[in-house]
Amino acid sequence: MEYDEERDLRVSQLSFIGNILAGFTHEIKNYIAIIKESAGLMGDMIKLGKKSKNEPQEYLEIIHSIEEQIEKTNDLFRYLNRFSHRMDNELSTFNVNETMEELIALLTRAANQRKISIEKDFQKDILPMNNNPSMLQFLVFHFLEEKITKLDKNSRLIIKTESANGSTVIRIIPKGNLLDADKEKGYLPYEIQDKVVRQLGGNISQEKEETVIKIPITDI
């Protein structure tokens, strides 16, 4: 029984990572496509020899767009790099705010599509944690994803982090209407959720609409 549960957890986690990486890749592909199109456009314009009054302004605009995509791609890869390195060791010392940033970077696109804004309310001098960062990301991600899917348009989703009594507290605070559609669809089954939280040594509780995740700073 326990064996099967463990297996489900592992498969879930791998699934999660696969999805994250796929998500990253899709976004990047989009940016690169834009770069290509922009460059192509410029090329076409030059070849056609069109001389317009706005030149070189037009070109500069295209170049600016390309530079934007480069920056976005670069940022995304920075997050990818950080996210990937979380998996190097099961146990490491990390800054929870940074791990949350990586998740946000992943979810921004989906959130934007639904006109939901994700806000960070991070404690600035939050204490570093000694735990399993990848596992923590795995857990928090599913709550975030759930909220994003259920929230109404133009809602806000606040992620708040703070240190309190030897624990790191992550609060997921939805601000808006929660549609109750498809309760269990695609989200982490309760047993696995429970297992993960126990592995991290913490607990999850629901305070009204806030999901509160408490993880001890040191997982002894």
């Binding site: 670069n74 890869f77 920075r78 790099n81």
Partner: protein, 125 residues
């Protein structure tokens, strides 16, 4: 006043040549080389003020090149190029005598600033 001599050492030809051109447009005497042999030859013959060096070059350990430069002429300042997740090599580079580091893709403004700082430092020696 002579232009600042900058030597770019990176095996990515497209990158280094474009960057060299951009520096030249900004009145730097910039040259790009793409392997260790050319790099060392250039150092000995051209005697650049500032070197911008990518540590991961096939054929010779970038760190070795850095040390060779510093041995040859310690007043030449070296700025190392790095990518994401290459923190270790940056540390190694800095302890081996590099002056600064900059990440790829390179922000031209940031690079210029660092080159100027390097030049100043060299002039003060």
């Amino acid at each position: 006043m002579a232009f600042t001599k900058v030597l770019l050492i990176d095996d990515e030809v497209e990158f280094a040549s474009a960057l060299a051109e951009r520096l030249q447009l900004r009145n730097y005497d910039a040259k790009a080389v793409y392997n260790a042999l050319e790099a060392l030859n250039s150092i000995y013959s051209d005697k650049p003020d500032v070197v911008v060096l990518d540590l991961k070059i096939p054929g010779m350990d970038g760190l070795e090149i850095l040390k060779t430069i510093k041995q040859f002429d310690p007043t030449i300042e070296v700025i190392i190029l790095t990518g994401h997740g290459a923190v270790e090599s940056v540390k190694e580079g800095l302890t081996s005598g590099a002056f600064e580091y900059i990440m790829k893709p390179v922000d031209i403004g940031e690079l210029i600033a660092k080159i100027e700082q390097a030049k100043k430092r060299r002039d003060n020696k």
